[in-house]
Subunit: 190 residues, 2 copies
């Protein structure tokens, strides 16, 4: 997606050789018009696929998932929670996800009401790096007996291996911008 | 907003006399088409007001804020973070917010890049209960020298006092559904 690469080049900020900061339009301040474009692009990438639910994880995936939902006839968005709210009284699916950047392990949870055996799930998120969050969501959907149609990421950092791991799990992966290397502040796209 | 009250009545689930669970369309699973309606309603409520930025807090406010943004000519959405990400290296505004339901105190943070003196800020969230999160966002915007145009909540639990506290802080409050009482599973709206 050329407009996305352009936006990453002009507005992104690299930190060392592993981090690219895009908090000006994607995950702190949100450029909603651009999110609409991203939503439509995901529909194009998964054209012809039947999808009944979009699954993401709080917080940065929510805006993306909601925009994509519109291009998929407004199918429901479900976001996994990192902490169990006091109101989550009924059963939930819970899968552990390690965060490499924070060095922590957290449980992602989705209420059993919102993932079912018949569901065809598209998993969307802002970043695909080491893949821990996406892998946890794939496991969760499969635990519920749902079919994972694919995993979509706005930005994939290919050198961190998450995409490869997901493909090993028989997941189709579509990333709108794939970064192969960050060096001396220069971002190399695939 | 009659359609919202109707949706709360039919899909909401009361827990005791203080909690109403609306995780089927608002804060776990998201009904995106309905969020669009909510976004347009906020525009109506704040008609004629100049707004340059929508401020919310992760996670449940994000979908609402993004939908409202469209009705306000796609002004940027900024969501406050509950934990400082490793990539938040520059200065940020930080304000403490107590959570009555969880019994915890957390710091809400917004990067200084995304709130400025000239901003006219509309604060939006899913719930207005004791008001702690909204009050923290008002303080944050004012710390940045920005003008708070108003606070909008999808559901206000009036009996928990947050709305009154915000009005004491000279904030205009617009709630799309105001609950005055929950008793024996019956929700009384204003």
């Amino acid at each position: 997606m050329e407009s996305l690469k352009q936006k990453i080049r002009t507005e992104g900020q690299t930190i060392g050789s592993e981090i690219i900061k895009v908090d000006g339009f994607l995950n702190h301040q949100i450029d909603v018009k651009f999110m609409e474009e991203i939503g439509r692009e995901f529909r194009k990438r998964f054209q012809g696929e039947e999808v009944t639910k979009i699954l993401t994880v709080e917080s940065s995936g929510i805006a993306i998932a909601c925009e994509a939902s519109k291009s998929f006839d407004y199918i429901p968005v479900v976001f996994a929670k990192k902490a169990a709210p006091s109101t989550m009284v009924e059963g939930c699916y819970s899968v552990e996800a390690r965060s490499f950047t924070k060095g922590t392990v957290s449980s992602l949870r989705v209420s059993k009401k919102f993932l079912s055996e018949g569901d065809r799930v598209l998993i969307l998120d802002d970043f695909l790096a080491s893949g821990e969050a996406s892998i946890a969501l794939v496991k969760m959907a499969r635990k519920a007996g749902a079919q994972v149609v694919g995993v979509g990421a706005v930005i994939e950092k290919e050198f961190q291996g998450g995409g490869a791991k997901l493909r090993e799990m028989d997941c189709r992966v579509e990333s709108l911008a794939v970064i192969v290397k960050i060096e001396d502040g220069i971002i190399a796209f695939k």
